[in-house]
């Protein structure tokens, strides 16, 4: 595709038919994503969507950009490797609440700290959809809908936004799959943020959490972007989990990870110099034997 062509949202969709159940919230997320990409005018080959395993993690193949459908819980490190190695690309990591907060929780913590330039979009349905409906970290302690925890998980639900803030994320937002336009706007903002941007999307699982069809009535666009971490914390203390919008946007992006990439210069010469560091000649302070 030539850069000049103006692409529509549908141009960011592939021909592959989603495996999702009819009515699954993830359809709305796919729509919002394609809308956001079109809105930003990004060339599909400059975008990569990276995921783990779960219903939601099937998303990459339904787009026309580069995709990576990895293993359960590891979307973020794959995305980080790609973003660090190829900083000119637009990298979006995605997946479910189980993938991201349960098995992938450690990468979430450290991705927030590391602040590589990528967007992390979690489709949160408070359940493991793909494995037929077990409790996820965001399930309520008394949700007794799974045979694995017949009396409910019995433990406090995971608070994604608070954790992201504690861990150091610079951009934090919440969206709702039932509001594709709002979600597309939030996504576009997240993608444009020059660092790690986290976006929790409430995305109902029609099959194992049919009660989530009520989300529509519960959500309200209440967050206004705050630039101060402490204020954002205070705002969260009264959050009911259904407020949408951008909660926090750190004014300056933290520096890129570790040492900045240096110009490659003359590679052959550099390698030569490195090899010379090993020579015995160096041990007496000179540059080697050149007859």
């Amino acid at each position: 595709m030539s850069a000049a062509a103006v692409l529509k949202p549908k141009d960011y969709k592939s021909a592959t038919r989603p495996v999702w159940c009819p009515g699954c919230g993830d359809f709305g997320v796919l729509n919002a994503l394609t809308k956001a990409l079109a809105g930003l005018g990004l060339a599909p080959e400059q975008v990569a969507v990276i995921s783990g395993i779960g219903c939601s993690s099937r998303l990459p193949a339904y787009t026309s950009v580069y995709g990576f459908h990895g293993v359960h819980g590891r979307a973020l490190p794959v995305a980080t490797g790609l973003a660090v190695a190829r900083p000119e690309l637009t990298v979006i990591a995605t997946g479910g609440d189980g993938d991201g907060f349960s098995i992938g929780g450690n990468h979430f913590l450290h991705a927030c700290r590391r602040n590589a330039n990528l967007t992390y979009l979690i489709m949160d349905n408070a359940v493991y959809g793909m494995t037929k409906g077990q409790a996820s970290p965001t399930s309520a302690p008394d949700w007794a809908g799974s045979k694995l925890t017949p009396n409910g998980p019995g433990i406090a639900a995971f608070r994604p936004l608070e954790i992201a803030l504690s861990a150091g994320a610079g951009f934090i937002a919440r969206g709702f799959s039932g509001d594709p336009n709002g979600l597309a706007r939030q996504l576009a903002e997240a993608i444009s943020y020059p660092g790690f941007a986290f976006l929790q999307v409430l995305s109902p699982c029609i099959t194992y959490r049919p009660e989530q069809m009520e989300y529509k009535a519960l959500v309200s666009a209440g967050f206004e972007p705050l630039a101060d971490r402490n204020e954002a914390f205070r705002r969260l203390l009264t959050d009911d989990g259904f407020t949408t919008g951008v909660l926090f946007r750190a004014p300056v992006a933290a520096p890129a990870p570790a040492d900045a990439r240096q110009a490659a210069g003359d590679e052959a010469a550099a390698l030569d110099a490195l090899a010379r560091e090993f020579t015995a000649a160096r041990l007496r302070g000179d540059g080697g034997y050149e007859p």
Binding site: H69, G265, D286
Partner: protein, 592 residues
């Protein structure tokens, strides 16, 4: 047989034996010698007892000898911990400091000539003097390393500490040398007299182009030279030096290193970078490799090139992190779930680390597969004087393909069935090459599929690309032509090689096959190499004979083939392998 001289410097933490040992090795390099130095530490994190274990020779050596000709003890703190590691040669010289108390029984009972030198007193007598520099003077004198070379090296090393430090050190060297020659009898060092091939310390010459490095540094260099430009790191003994070496050097060639939160992250970061077209490597040891297993399977299925340099240490579990063992062959070859063929290689010595690392990178990139390089603590952490790699190092070359971007009728076939099993591979940024890499069973386009034709087709394709590839002569090294053969791999190669040389010297011709390619097993090459062999020995440094079982599984070995192996922590030594060879020979003779 290599005439060589082995010595140990021991002392408590802070005594500086490692510095002294390393300076001695370096000086030997300046004097045109070959040699190596291993380090051994007690259990204390810092400040415990330590031993520098050196071997010096006029011909290339890359493994420890059977026993030590010289022991210089700065003190005796917990020396019994090293007793196993310090077999003394008959007639070995033991230099003891009378100020440190009597010679402990584990040493005194060994057959050696004990000489007393008041090492610390000599140091105290010199303003700013340090006992380890006296010990260096002693060791250099008795190991016949020219004083000029030692002095050159010490001047250079201490220059930044100022002239006074240098002068004190030089005085210590001299005091040590004098004392050593005095107590042992002038001109009677246990090694041969200075031979003509000892280079004048000041003289430049081709020997100055030799490399003085350990296998970890060499591995990092080989990978970099082959094209690695991304590394994700999680520290672990004894692999950390590969990562640290790369951390300092990658930026010089436009590459990057990220410290990861764990090995699950580091392997997946490498996958991400490589998916992005940037050759990637990580280094780890057994526990970290275990954590990478699931994602290595992903790299196999999604066909993502990458290299894992696994530096083996005593196992299982946390085992003995500081000691060497060839114990991760099983997991490296068979550890992935499902049918996940990939490549496993191992360098056959410190000098082989750079070429093998480079080869690993080029195989990964060419074959679009993860490659596990099996190094070990002995290779990784033994500072060795080696000839720099002879030929060109291999370089990464990935098969790229970009769909014509006006060809919109078909999406990119990333996993197309090809005759050689290697599919076209695009990467983000290339227009028209978009696909989704997938660890699920997939079609040629990468779309998930549960159909038998896709599953079997892709399994066949991935096996085919590995089995039909021409690995060339690097699959293994052959030496000798006897009708008894030894098969070995990795760091065991060097002691085996020396054992074979000694056998040859006793009139027993042995054919040596050192495998560099461990998986897929180069069965036909191996069987050809063993043509006409009457009996075979498989030598390795582990408890169960992992290579032996692996070869039985995949090739027809000569009858009889005996497995000879033992675990760490003690290094393999040529003498014990020679014993095994002679045993096999005797058995054949008896049967004949």
């Amino acid at each position: 047989m290599t005439p060589s001289f082995s010595l140990a410097l021991t002392g408590s933490g802070g005594a500086g034996v490692m510095t002294a040992g390393q300076l001695l090795l370096d000086a030997a390099a300046l004097a045109g010698r070959y040699g190596l130095m291993a380090r051994s530490f007690g259990p204390q994190i810092r400040g415990g007892e330590a031993a520098a274990l050196l071997r010096l020779a006029r011909r290339p050596v890359e493994c420890p000898d059977d026993d030590y000709d010289l022991l210089v003890a700065l003190d005796w703190g917990n020396i019994e911990r090293f007793a196993d590691e310090l077999p003394l040669a008959a007639g070995a010289v033991i230099i003891a400091d009378p100020g440190q108390g009597g010679v402990p029984e584990v040493i005194a009972t060994q057959a050696g000539r004990i000489h007393e030198i008041a090492i610390s007193q000599l140091a105290r007598d010199i303003p700013g003097g340090r006992p380890n520099m006296v010990a260096l003077g002693i060791a250099a004198a008795l190991a016949d390393v020219p004083g000029g070379a030692v002095e050159t090296r010490v001047r250079q090393a201490l220059a930044r500490h100022g002239d006074e430090s240098v002068a004190a050190a030089i005085a210590c060297l001299a005091a040590g040398r004098a004392a050593a020659l005095e107590v042992t009898g002038h001109g009677d060092p246990p090694s041969a007299a200075p031979s003509e091939d000892t280079v004048d310390a000041g003289a430049p010459g081709p020997h100055l182009d030799r490399w003085v490095l350990n296998g970890n540094e060499a591995t990092g260099f080989g990978a970099l030279a082959a094209g690695v430009r991304f590394c994700a790191a999680y520290p672990i003994t004894p692999a950390t030096e590969i990562l640290e070496w790369l951390a300092g050097r990658l930026p010089r060639v436009g590459g990057r290193l990220v410290q990861a939160e764990d090995e699950l992250a580091s392997i997946n970061m490498c996958i991400g970078a490589s998916f992005g077209g940037v050759p990637a490597l990580t280094a780890t040891a057994g526990p970290g490799l275990s954590l990478m297993i699931e994602s290595l399977g992903l790299a196999v299925a999604a066909e993502v090139p990458l290299v894992v340099a696994n530096v083996m240490r005593g196992g299982p579990s946390t085992g003995i992190p500081t000691k060497s063992e060839q114990t991760d062959l099983n997991i490296a070859v068979y550890g992935l779930h499902g049918e996940a063929p990939h490549v496993v290689v191992a360098p056959t010595g410190v000098g082989d680390c750079a070429p093998t690392a480079a080869w690993a990178v080029s195989l990964a990139e060419t074959l679009q597969t993860p490659v596990i390089l099996l190094s070990d603590q002995a290779l990784g952490q033994t500072r060795t004087i080696v000839d720099p790699p002879g030929g060109e190092l291999a370089r990464a070359g990935r098969r790229r393909y970009v769909a014509r971007h006006d060809d919109s009728t078909e999406t990119y076939r990333r996993y197309a069935m090809t005759a050689d099993g290697i599919s076209p591979m695009s990467c983000p940024g290339l227009p028209g090459g978009q696909y989704t890499a997938d660890g699920l069973t997939h079609t040629e386009h990468g779309i998930p599929s549960t159909r038998a034709e896709d599953h079997v087709g892709q399994l066949d394709k991935r096996r085919r690309k590995l089995e039909e590839y021409d690995y060339g002569p690097l699959w293994g090294d052959l030496h000798g032509a006897g009708d008894i053969a030894v098969i070995t791999w990795g760091s065991a190669t060097q002691p085996v090689r020396e054992a074979c040389q000694r056998a040859e010297a006793c009139g027993l011709a042995v054919r040596l096959v050192a495998l560099r390619l461990l998986s897929p097993v180069p069965a036909s090459e191996l069987e050809a190499a063993l043509g006409g062999v009457r009996a075979c020995l498989v030598v390795e440094h582990n408890h169960s004979g992992q290579l032996y079982r692996h070869l039985r599984a995949w090739t027809e070995l000569p009858h009889p083939t005996l497995a000879w192996h033992r675990p760490g922590p003690l290094p393999l030594r040529p003498g014990e392998i020679l014993g095994a060879l002679q045993g096999l020979h005797a058995q054949l003779e008896a049967a004949a």
